[in-house]
Each structure stands twice: as C-alpha cells, then as structure tokens.
C-alpha cells in the first residue's frame, strides 16, 4: 500500500516534470520522421550560443558568490545574536524576493542607468548596464534563496553543539566556520543551488539589463530564437533550453558530490536552551550597516517603483506630475484588475500548498528510495525550474493538447505550470528539514501508536514549521506575480496579475505607470499578508 503511494508519486512527478520536455524534445528533434541533426548543430555551435554560455556561467556564478557573501552574515545576525528589531530586519531582508525580478530590473534601470539614473547625481560612476551591474542586480534578488534556506536551518540547530565549540576555545568566527556552517551546509548548498538555477533561468533581468549592456545570456539567446516567430525559431529555442538542462544536470552532480558528506540530525530529542551572542559595542554600527543594506536592496527599488506608480507621465519630475491617477485607472477603470488579483491569489495559494505537500511527500519518499533513484528524483524536480518559463509553458500546451486533457485555456494549466516550475523550491527546503530531524522523535510517535497521518500532522508539521513557511512563501511570492508562463497560458477570464502587468507594460496607457502600480500593490499585499499571518499566529507563521 505504502509502496503503491510511493510509485504513484514518482509517476506523477515524471508526468509533471519530465514528460512534457521529452514530448517537446521529441517533437522538435524529428522533421518528417527523420532526426534533425542540423538543428542541433545550428543551436549549439552558434558562436552567440557559446558566448552566452560563458556569460551565463560567469554572471550566475558571481551572483551565487555574492548572494552567499550577503546571506551568511545576515543569517548569523538574525539567528545567533541579540540584534535589536530582529523580526523587522528578518522581514525586510526576506521581502526582496517578493519583488518580481523584471520589475526590480526596471526599478534599477530607473535608479542607475548611465544617462539619467536617479542615483547619478550622488554616484556619478554608477551604471547598471554593465557586467557588475547585471551581477549586482541579480544578487539583490536571488540572495533571498540563500538567506531563507539558511535561516530555517540555523533556527533548528541544537545550540549545545555551538556551545561545546565555545568551551573548546573557539571564537565566534571559528564557531561559525567550524561548527555552525558545516552543520547548515546542506541548507546552504540548496540555497546556492536555487539561486544559481534561478539566475540561469532568469529572463527579466537578463533581458532588460543584459541586452542593454550587450551581454547575452542563455535565456536571452533562447528568447531570440523563440522570438523569431517562426517554426524553426521555436524549435531552436526548445533545443537550446536542453542546454540549460545540461547545466542543471552538472550542477546537480556537483551538489551530490559535495552534500553527501553533510547529512545528520540537527533536531535532537534532548532539548537544549539557546543562548544568544551579545553584540555590545557593535550594536550601533550593525544597525547602521543593516539600514544601509536594506536601503540598497529594498527601499531604493521600491522607491523607484513607487515614483513610477505615482507619475502621471513617466520621467516628468516636476511636483505637479505626481498623483494617484495611475492607481485610479488600475482600480476603478480596469475591470479585470479584481479578477486578476483574485485569480493570482487563488493560483499562488494553491500552488504553494500543492508544492509544499508534494515536496514533503518526495522528501519522505527519499528515505525509502535508494541513493541513485533519489538523485534521479531530485533531477526530475529541478528540470522544470532550470528551463525558461516560455519553454515550460509551451511544452505543457503541447502535452495537454496532445493528450487531450481538458486543461487548455483554464486556470488548471496555469496551476500545473506553477507547480512544475516552483516544486523545486519546496522540495529542496523541506527535504533539508526532513533530513535534519532526529529519527527517534518520529520513533517515539510511532511507539505511541500514531499512524502516518498523525505523525505528519502532529510531529512533522510543527517541527518543520520554519521550513514549511519558507516553502510556502518561496512558492507563493513568485507564483503571485508570475508572468512569462502566464502570458502564454492565459485565456479570457483567466487573467493573472502577471499578465495584467504585462498588458500594462507593453500596451498600457501610462507606459509603465500602471505596471508599477500593480507591482507596488503586489508588494503591499504580500507585506500585509505576511504581517497579518504573523500577528494572527503570534509570530509563529510568516517570514
């Protein structure tokens, strides 16, 4: 019976995450029943492809490096010290994740473009249209993966393990690097992996900043092919995305090699009392540094979005130009706004629940599967994430139409796309949680007579709480304003916030103002949602 469930899960996973691409790859590789070598050659030996590949590796590698550099000290401050306003900082530094990256990119262009960026008067050398610019903007969004993963893991470590190191004469530095860091290594690696995959699959930032900077990335290259609006172009783009899969596979192999050394329980059945490190003299400087960082990663881009939202005419900086006209248009003159918000809330919540549940199931299944099967499973989950959204959307269209599933042009196919795309987040983070819980805690429940469901609801869910919350938000936020896939999958009545933003952006009245309003509202909504959740559950749930 249990075995059956396990296999059912794996089969489902296969159909959700792998089959569509096989189908797509197959459809694209054969021309009139003949395998089409030429198209592969054309896609992969193109000098632009090679250059994009190198750019992608350099930019995304640096992004992960910088993300880690930002996240490690932040995570440490937020969990190990008596930092003041901890809850506030925590929320602030997790929230950039809620800004849709392409909106963020627009904000940064507004702030730091070399012609008339808002920041130019203060920092005349600033220029987003450059390699460092691209890397920094990417880091400013994707560090959150590393941070959120680290936070949930750090919260769960038995504190006496760190105390034992302090007794042994280790200073805070050594405690962190010799004990804490190795203990949270699985989570750190997952976070880095997610950041890397997000960066290589990211299109918004790559296109808006990379194009203008003359740096082509793999996603933009795929986009170029796809935007040829021709059959061949479509095929080329599909085939080139297989290249992204290859990178993902390599990354997974590396992850496997590195992280098999770091698997152990952090949540034990002997409960220790946590004690916090006092910041003392560095209290004030730390607050200053955090404020600065928060201004850079959060306040500035939001400010830019807000300015755009309030501008009746974009770029007119005279006072009379500011007002709530765009808000008025969006909320009172656009009838699909409410439908779009409702659809997006519905989709994002469903996707977040579905992903967390499936992610949990897959993590538990991991205990019963052999190592190689496990790795294959992990790779399955990662495939849809590593592939650009358009390709995923197209392959889902292809699959649902060919299999005659009654999903086409419904919200169902959008949900399916979200689940496939974001499952990787949930799986990664929950899996870290599951492997870190000492088995005797589960044993004890079994002995007490609890069945699987009871163990799930009474033991796993509460113990995994920080991981589940992280998983929920990691899926909810990008799904809420997802654009690339939604644009292809939407139909009448199925508008989402993402498609609406796209409409307003591309065809809208105030060229950007309306989109900024929505982006701003998405943010406010998420902040409010998070705040209510936190208050309602006395700080137990929420970021």
């Amino acid at each position: 019976m249990k075995k059956l469930g396990l296999y059912a899960l794996l089969v489902f996973l296969f159909f959700l995450c792998v089959y569509p691409f096989i189908f797509l790859g197959h459809s694209f590789s054969f021309e009139n029943g003949q395998f089409d070598f030429a198209i592969y050659k054309r896609a992969f030996t193109n000098p632009m492809t090679i250059r994009s590949f190198i750019n992608t590796m350099v930019v995304c590698g640096s992004t992960v490096f910088i993300s880690t550099l930002i996240s490690l000290p932040l995570a440490w401050l937020l969990t190990r010290t008596n930092l003041a306003f901890k809850g506030f900082w925590r929320t602030v530094f997790c929230l950039p994740y809620a800004i849709p990256p392409f909106i963020g990119a627009i904000a940064w262009i507004y702030l730091a473009n070399p012609s008339n960026g808002l920041l130019r008067p203060i920092l005349p050398w600033i220029n987003v249209y450059s390699r460092p610019g691209l890397i920094l903007v990417m880091s400013a969004f994707f560090y959150t993966f590393v941070l959120i993963n680290l936070l949930s893991a750090l919260e769960k470590i038995d504190p006496s393990l760190e105390e034992a190191a302090r007794i042994s004469g280790a200073n805070s530095w050594q405690v962190f690097f010799k004990v804490t860091l190795p203990l949270v290594m699985p989570s750190l690696i997952s976070g880095m992996l997610l950041a890397f995959l997000s960066a290589i699959a990211n299109f918004g930032i790559a296109a808006l900043i990379g194009n203008a900077a003359g740096i082509s990335m793999l996603t933009t290259q795929i986009f170029i092919f796809q935007k040829m609006a021709s059959y061949t172009g479509l095929k080329l783009s599909g085939i080139l995305s297989l290249g992204l899969l290859l990178i993902a596979a390599i990354v997974f192999y590396l992850d496997h090699v590195i992280s098999k050394r770091f698997r152990f329980s952090l949540v034990t059945g002997k409960v220790a009392r946590p004690s916090l490190i006092e910041l003392n003299k560095s209290k004030f400087p730390v607050q200053v540094i955090l404020s600065l960082l928060a201004i850079i990663i959060f306040v500035l881009p939001i400010g830019a979005i807000l300015i755009a939202a309030l501008s009746k005419l974009q770029g007119d900086r005279s006072l009379s130009n500011f007002g709530f006209q765009n808000f008025h248009t969006i909320f009172f003159k656009t009838d699909e706004t409410y439908r779009a918000v409702w659809n997006s809330v519905l989709l994002a919540i469903s996707a977040a629940f579905a992903c967390s549940l499936i992610g949990y199931g897959l993590s538990q299944a991991g205990k019963k599967l052999s190592l190689p099967v496990n790795k294959v499973k992990e790779a399955f989950v990662a495939i849809p994430y590593a592939v650009p959204g358009t390709v995923l959307a197209l392959s889902l269209i292809l699959t649902t139409l060919s299999l005659r599933l009654p999903l086409y042009n419904t919200l169902g196919i959008i949900l399916l796309a979200y689940v496939a795309k974001f499952l990787n987040f949930s799986y990664r983070i929950i899996n870290d949680g599951v492997t870190q819980v000492d088995q005797t805690l589960i044993d004890a429940a079994q002995v007490a007579g609890a069945n699987s469901w009871q163990i799930f609801t009474k033991i796993w869910i509460p113990i995994l709480r920080p991981f589940l919350i992280a998983s929920f938000f990691l899926v909810f936020m990008p799904a809420f304003s997802e654009l690339t896939m939604s644009v292809l999958l939407t139909g009448p009545g199925n508008e989402t916030i993402g498609t609406l933003i796209f409409q307003l952006q591309e065809y809208g009245d105030a060229s950007g103002g309306g989109a900024a309003v929505l982006a701003f509202c998405v943010l406010v909504l998420i902040i409010v949602l998070n705040g209510t959740l936190k208050i309602a559950t006395k700080g137990k749930y929420g970021l």
Binding site: V267, T268, G269, K270, V271, A272, R273, P274, D438, T440, L441, D443, A444, A445, Q446, V447, A448, G449, A450, N451, Q454, K458, I459, P462, I463, R465
Partner: protein, 241 residues
C-alpha cells in the same frame, strides 16, 4: 497475552554484526532487565522489539504471534504493537509543552479529554513534575526531561513497556522512588517490561530475570539470585561484582 520472544535474531549494519543469533523468551507480565557493557546491543535489541529497527534474520514474536521475520517478509508496524517506550535520548518533542508530550499516546488512542487530563496529571505527579505541565521542553533540566520521557512511556498503560536507561539522570532518592513506582504500575497492570540499564543494583533489585549481554551475545539469562549464585563465566562474575 504479551510475551516477547526472539528466535535466532541477528542484526547487522552493512556487514557490521551487532546482534549474533539471539534467542530468548520473556513471559507475559515479566520484568526483565538487559544488562551489559556500553555498546553491547541493548538499545538495538529494544528497538527491534519496538519495530523501529528490522532484524536482519530470525523471528520476533509478541504474544505468541510473529511480528517480524525477514525470511517470511513479515513485519507488523510499530504503531500496531501497542507498546510504550522510554528512549535513551529522551526523544521529547520540542514543539509540544510537557502536557502535550505526555498526552500524546493517549490522544492516539482517542481517550476522552477528561480522562487524558486526569491520567497526565497523575503520571506527572508521580514523576514529580506536577505544576510544570505548561512548560516547554527547552526550559527543563536534563533530569526533568528524562522524567517527561518516562511519564510519556507509562501514561497509556501499554501491554509491553520498553525502558532504555530511563533513570540515568536522576538522583538516588528520586531514582528509588521511580523504581518502586515503575514496578508497582508494572505489576498492577501486568505489563511485560524490558528494562535496559547499566546499573547492576537497579537490575538486581527490580527484575524477575536478568539478561546479561556482551558484544551482541547473551551470556546469561536467569533470575537475580541464580546469576549471583552461578555466574556462567568470569565476565559475568566480574561484571556484576
């Protein structure tokens, strides 16, 4: 009917043999202690009875029915074995307060709320933790946590009770009281008890029979007086002295 029987039970971890062909029978309502040096396989044997570990070979029976036999691909899951267990590492759930930790086995049995309240308060009183029921585990001392684990193991009056060094962090006075209480409950409810301890005094004073183990083997399985009178070999003699 809740006798426990091992027939040629073996256990290895990737070739590392931990239990070598154990055979013994513990009668219904009997109190048996496992005694032996650290690392000899006491915890492992207990976990096999509980079904938390699968034996690599041989048969385990509970109340006359086989509950685990790799040869016959038979395995009754833990929750259907109706056991109580106190873990060497406590295994207190960090997210539940003391009351909820102890109440858990009763909730699994769908006991009424009123009854749960009464039973939990009673057993907490017994382990001298009355008044701490609202506290979270992280605010308890080591010995207090151990007593929570004990209370949780006892509260549901299981048919078979497995105790893995349940008193190791308690002082002599409390320990003595606990021994008496455990013994009393055991006899009153006719619970079959397997008690793992490193403490000879404890084993000899509480048990109907004692099983002395070493490196995955049973050296002697007999009543305390028998063992004292006729230790089978020098190791046993030395160990119990």
């Amino acid at each position: 009917m809740s006798s426990v029987e091992f027939k040629n039970v073996t256990k290895d971890y990737q070739g590392n043999v931990i239990l070598k062909n154990l055979s013994f029978k513990i009668n219904d309502g009997e109190f048996v202690s496992f005694l032996g040096p650290s690392g000899c396989g006491k915890t492992t044997s207990l976990r096999i009875v509980a079904g938390l570990e699968k034996n690599s070979g041989g048969e385990v029976s509970l109340g006359g029915e086989i509950i685990s036999s790799p040869e016959k691909s038979l395995f009754v899951p833990t929750r259907e074995r109706n056991l109580g267990m106190v873990f060497q590492s406590y295994a207190i759930w960090p997210h539940m307060n003391i009351f909820e930790n102890v109440a858990f086995p009763l909730r699994m049995k769908k006991t009424s709320e009123a009854e749960i309240k009464k039973s939990v308060e009673d057993v907490l009183q017994m382990v001298e933790l009355g008044g701490l029921s609202e506290r979270m585990p992280s605010t308890l001392s080591g010995g207090q946590q151990q007593r929570v684990a004990l209370a949780r193991g006892l509260v549901a009056r299981p048919k078979v009770l497995l105790l893995d060094e349940p008193l190791s962090n308690l002082d002599a006075k409390l320990r003595e009281k606990m021994r008496k209480d455990i013994r009393q409950i055991q006899q009153h409810f006719k619970i079959t008890c397997i008690y793992v301890t490193h403490d000879q005094v404890e084993a000899f004073s509480m048990s109907d029979r004692i099983m002395i183990m070493e490196k995955g083997n049973i050296l002697q399985f007999a009543t305390p007086s028998e063992i004292r009178a006729n230790p089978v070999n020098d190791f046993v003699k030395d160990f119990i002295s």
